[in-house]
Symmetry: C2
Subunit: 200 residues, 2 copies
Amino acid sequence: MAESVQNIRRVVWLMFFAVLFACPAMAVSIPSGGISSFEEWEKAFNKWDSGRAEWKQPRMAPNKLPFPVDYRDWRVLSVSHHEDQESIRVILGNDVAIRAAREKRFTPWPEGAMLIKVLWRQRRLPTWKESWVPAEILGVGIMYKDREQFADTLGWGFSLWQSEHFELPEDFNTDVQGCVQCHSPLKDSDYVFTVPAIFP
Amino acid sequence: MAESVQNIRRVVWLMFFAVLFACPAMAVSIPSGGISSFEEWEKAFNKWDSGRAEWKQPRMAPNKLPFPVDYRDWRVLSVSHHEDQESIRVILGNDVAIRAAREKRFTPWPEGAMLIKVLWRQRRLPTWKESWVPAEILGVGIMYKDREQFADTLGWGFSLWQSEHFELPEDFNTDVQGCVQCHSPLKDSDYVFTVPAIFP
């Protein structure tokens, strides 16, 4: 009897750990960061909004890639979410990129195409528990096609702007090398992960 | 010894079932539908593109809510994905809605605001397995704020346009009643699930 109880206990613990360790790669654990209610959203909104005038000035990355200050008026190329990074994203394009996507001219993407990936930590929507939506903004990643200017980095200018104030990473050049390394295997899709969403 | 083996076997099976049944609500099972490669994306793209001229004509739902044919040029309010419905979405707004979101005037949303939710089945990106991206389009859902015209449906006109050709559901009125029922509890957020993403 004692052994049987011990077995049951063992099974229960093993089930617990099986669930715990089998699922971390899945987008189900509740994100640790901030926003889970409308009040928190409002606080976060006010926080970035207060710093907005300052960072909304044109900025340039060390590789001479400017930050497109009007990016949030751009149109959608696609959306994505990551089960490992607990993030949700939208990928926007400048006019050149949007036109190319709609005409299926993106292998390779035309010169002048700019793609910007906006990343948020994801959270459960309090009013709809199965729905995952953006929480704090994590930053944006930019790709700009210019084969000549960016010949050393796959023909693309890369930049990363982090946190809600869009700061450059401390070691910008190393970070760009990280971009290049990760995008290098994608020669067939012109080094771009995004496939435009079918958007009738 | 035999009992010990049996116990181990039992534990292994229980772990298997624990993982199997603990995770179905999570967005990890591979969607049954079509697109998993670039070739399939291209086929699906061609399929809707061929029917485009026809459905791009202005259309009207039975409740007099027109389909906004230029919706894919609209700007982003938010994005979401659902672990139960295996879908990924982007929520776009017309100019009235975008302005309201950026000025935090959406409790209630102003008259004339239109929100459109574009739904795709989600799929794993073949080149980045942890990334979930849009596959086939499932349809769009529309909300249009007009307290007078849509007094009977929470002050919002609802419409649903299904599949890649954006057809109205056969029993449109019943479907709209479904919308109303589901949105009714959300009085505090003017019957809208979407909270605009923080978009610096």
